[in-house]
Subunit: 363 residues, 2 copies
Amino acid sequence: MHISELDTPAILIDLDIMERNLQRTAEYARTHGLRLRPHTKTHKIPALGRQQLELGAAGLSVAKTTEAEVMLCSGVRDLLVAYPVVGRQKLERLCQVARKADVTIAVDSLAVARPIAEAAQAAGVEIGLLAEMDAGLHRVGVLPGNDLLTLVQGLVRLPAVRWKGVAFYPGHIKDTSETGLAELDVLRRLVAEAIGHLRKNGFAPEIVSGGSTPLLWESHTVPEVNEIRPGTYIFNDRNTVLSGACTREDCAATIMTTVVSVAPGRVIIDGGSKTFSSDRLSNSTEVTFGEIEGHPGSSFHKMNEEHGFVKLPNGPGEFNIGDRVRVIPNHICVAMNLHEQVYGIRGGRVVETWRVEGRGKLQ
Amino acid sequence: MHISELDTPAILIDLDIMERNLQRTAEYARTHGLRLRPHTKTHKIPALGRQQLELGAAGLSVAKTTEAEVMLCSGVRDLLVAYPVVGRQKLERLCQVARKADVTIAVDSLAVARPIAEAAQAAGVEIGLLAEMDAGLHRVGVLPGNDLLTLVQGLVRLPAVRWKGVAFYPGHIKDTSETGLAELDVLRRLVAEAIGHLRKNGFAPEIVSGGSTPLLWESHTVPEVNEIRPGTYIFNDRNTVLSGACTREDCAATIMTTVVSVAPGRVIIDGGSKTFSSDRLSNSTEVTFGEIEGHPGSSFHKMNEEHGFVKLPNGPGEFNIGDRVRVIPNHICVAMNLHEQVYGIRGGRVVETWRVEGRGKLQ
């Protein structure tokens, strides 16, 4: 089927670009001796998790218990839940997952870790734990130094769990601009000191897990890090381009829409916040929601749920009702979460249809 | 089941508040002789569409073909697709819907209307058409005056469709502040002149359909309007409160989350952009994503996909890991679209579980 036969809006994945992104990252990790544990929240598709594993990924990352359940179908043997799992139902379900794959959870408090240990003990499984460290994002994680040491000292005493190392997420570093590189230098010192402090006190982490897509190619320069968890790199998006970690030609995912209304100086496309999400650019003050391929002067500057507002520099003659318009989204992960299925394409033809199995998994 | 037994994040609908919102609006419409045609994009649940019809709604509104298919289960006899439907697949499906209910589509060009007429003719059904007028939002719609007249003159000549009137959406008026009231005055004149111009030229609209939730209680003051299409009023949200159309006590929907990380001055809740959407407030420059019930000093100021960042005025003692926190969202319609199911509650007990049947319907 040609892509022109698809109804819109629809997410198209250029498989040649996606495979190049997967291979390039797998090779980078291999070259630098880093375990690659892709975060599957970007694609949410077990078949793509399987491709990552076949290319040498050491395991997969997920954010939620329900995502872990879905991702079992990839054949994964080693799952990291990169989120503090809180709540009886979630823990009972995760212990079921732990019968089929090794499960590790990143935690930042004993208040979170204790119920995990109790649930694991009750279910007769072992759960791995990483101590989550705040590397500057101030989201989750304890401060490096004594707080991290105290957390690790608590974790190793718990039954039915195994402390495996340290995790952090450098999401506060958005790019490798001068500012970004200065922040990266701070990060390098912080990680080296934090892990050094643990070692000095007799706690040698087996895993030091960091890394994000914007900092992907700098991962090997952060001391002690031996595992990386990029997610977006499989598709890339406008945020990744702006971060400097890829070029526009590395963006595998576009959202195909249709022009439904034309007026002087503007058109409306049939995708808005329900199609793209309302995420703004993460490292720019510019308020735009995507880049229209082939129309560099246009500006996708506003959206309602079903309407994308596109300003045109060249008057309305540029577009007609029914024209198909492909848009590179700001943030592909949240867009994937809005679509029931996505289409893998090669040379304008649809060659794969994937259900986004992990879409809408909130718990 | 008590709500404390639900896993989080979860949308809770307080049924007493929802029913009061439904009844109040139904009574307002009745009192002022307005046909009420609720926009179901807010709830996306056929059972709630049925409640609206039972309370006297003249029909229902949807935005998409697939939403129309879903909403047939409400028993609706009269469906308005308040969106320019473009594309062969959508039109073929909508003609199937038109065998089961009266279907009307709001269009703003003959380029959109002609294929609708052709599809209706081919399928042997009749489709109603409203001429969409731009009342100031500059989204879809032709300009009032001669452009509107020309559109109507074109519509009445098409086969297999019936021109029924005029639609507009006053989404540019966000509230009834001084500015809003001045804009409302402009709107009143605009609508009166536009419809007057049509009548003078021999085109008397059967339906003049306008209205939104922020302007709900002013609908009867806009001349010629005989149908209103509010959506959000069934639940209300922070945007509705800020618009002045309701109070906080009229917000039926809250999103229940769990505290998963606690640090000095902040907590992280287990809901972010995948739970709430990243919609900012529509009529404020304040960057917050919800209001935490019972914690007026807190600020839900930032989110990632699974993390809600909440700043605290009173230090970390206010919250503990595992605490349940209920949040009034900025925009309930986009949040509903992210949840597979939602829970109807009375007095802390779950009495209804509804699948959000219209969730993720993009085409």
